[in-house]
Amino acid sequence: MRLESGGHIREVRLSADSATLDTASHVVRGGADGASAEFLEVDGVRHRVRAARRADRVFVWCDGDVWEFSAARKESAAAGEHAKDLRAPMPGRVRKVHASEGESVVKGQLLLVLEAMKMEHAIRAPRDAAVRRLTHREGDLVEMGEVLVELSEPPSGS
């Protein structure tokens, strides 16, 4: 299956005593051999592992570190400077809109201020671009992940 974690994507195939990550094959032993000790021995090295699934996400605790996994979507998400849609990082209320549709903005320019329970969050332009669309007005409630600002396409090749 194709899994995603923190922007990393791997094709993982399991068999009874081995696993393949993309093209790399690993020898796997153990795991769930008891209720309280959950071990996974990968290529002879023992790891403490606990995993929990909720709907389409899996959380894995491995030797003290935690990772979140989901099934990878076909289109890999562009991020950062290449973003086209700027989304709400948390649910809240649009406090102030500092840009207007059609405006040319420079990297770092404040476009919008979002207010949630305990903090304000500035939405800034990740690159020089034109504001194609502003989806909300001041005072609007937005949910987490909703598109707030749509920018012009990033220059190709960058």
């Binding site: 299956m1 899994l3 974690s5 923190g6 922007g7 990393h8 993982v12 195939r13 399991l14 009874a16 990550l21 690993h26 796997v28 795991g31 769930a32 996974l40 990968v42 290529d43 790891h47 592992v49 606990r50 995993a51 929990a52 699934r53 909720r54 709907a55 996400r57 899996v58 959380f59 894995v60 605790w61 491995c62 030797d63 003290g64 570190d65 935690v66 990772w67 979140e68 996994f69 099934a71 289109e75 998400a77 562009a78 991020a79 290449h82 973003a83 086209k84 700027l86 989304r87 990082p89 948390m90 649910p91 949630a116 329970m117 305990k118 969050h121 949910e143 987490m144 992940g145 598109v147």
Partner: protein, 497 residues
Amino acid sequence: MIRRLLIANRGEIAVRVGRTAREMGIEDVAVYSEADAGAYHVGQMADAVSLGPGTPRETYLSVPRLMEAARRAKADAVHPGYGFLSENAGFARAVEEAGLVWVGPSAEAIEEMGDKVRSRARMRAAGVPVVPGSDPHAVSDADLVAEAGRIGFPVLVKAAAGGGGKGMSRVDRTEDLPEALAEARRLAASAFGDEKVYLEKLLERPHHVEFQIFGDRAGHLIHLFERECSVQRRHQKIVEETPSPALEAALRSRMAEAAVEAGRAVGYVGAGTVELLLDEKRNFYFLEMNTRLQVEHPITEVTLGIDLVRAQLEVAAGRTLPDHWARLTPRGHAIELRLYAEDPVTQLPRSGEILDYVEPGGPGVRVDAGVTRGSRVSLEFDPLLAKLIVSAPDRKAAIERAHRALGEWVVLGVETNRAMLAAVLRSPEFLSGRYATDLVSRLPAGESPEPPPAAWIAAARAFGGPGSAVRSAGPAGGGPGNVRDPWGEASGWRTGA
């Protein structure tokens, strides 16, 4: 004595106060908003009363609802915890006017210290050094611009009624000041109902050191040593320790004296904390006084071997401080790590359900938690999940213990700042003990390292491969299956293509 205590709070502090109350034979009564009926703190107390439906503002922040709850609970005392209404003089007054015991300082002391402009003037008059700042009478833009020139840039714009860094902003140039003032006034008005702002000189790379003080009605007022709180992120403390590695004995004494002086100036009764800034030249300044229990109070408890909440309840009931408290000396070293529900990269609060939870244990480990397996974490509330407090004979051993305990702590289902806490403990600056408030900003940026093969394999198994080692993800209490978490699906700060 107190018989039945309403704990006007939620989360880890409500649980922590309840524990001491029960030890004293006091019945502890939780409050909860309707959405919070299944919250952890509700299940830990002898009794619980509802604050009804609504937002936090309509419930945990509503004086009438809390007073009604106290009446229904037949409580004879109220402990406010920290945050929420803990520094609200109106609530303190309402509790006392209803004939109940208010577990905190007088409404007057809260007011005196709550107005930062007034408290600065009061401290200066008492001979306690304060951070250079604007004149209490400077209110207009013009006056404040002039004051900024006198103080010297950079300055901080702060709300007079504020606290905890809320609405605080740094200004480096005169021309940016009017906009910052307008913004700060707007924020202050909405957050505190008081738009008054003032300026403070911004100290570069200061230490944030606070002293616990404690007073009783017989006029005793003592300090209980310091807590080093310089590991901050967005003015929010994340790691605290005591003793402070920045202080030597003589400086510690002088700062402690100033802290006691600050408390004495307002006739302080109960537990309070005097926050001081220490600059690179070893000058210290009064920053503010918190008229309540601090989040980080446990590190004082473990190094001194005392229970601050018990003392709060006893002093509130009219008892004097234990005689030997004036002679307490700290033993060993203690560190507190605050575990927040947040995206490890963007550091924004996260919500979700805690699917698996295992606390660290064994020698020198204390956990004050506000959640457990099955708890739902909402964005409506403070994202603090739990605190890990470690103690050991010396600082090095305490750091090693903190690492060990952090490695035992399993929290699955909601992302946390665990990795940042580990990064702080590992950083050469923290290890050396020579760090200031910029420590966190100097850590390597939050990133998304590639999970190791074992994690990919465990994840694939959990998604249903052979040898699946998945924990049950349903609500721990059984019942009507998974409750949908409206924010559970989105993954933080995403910019789509």
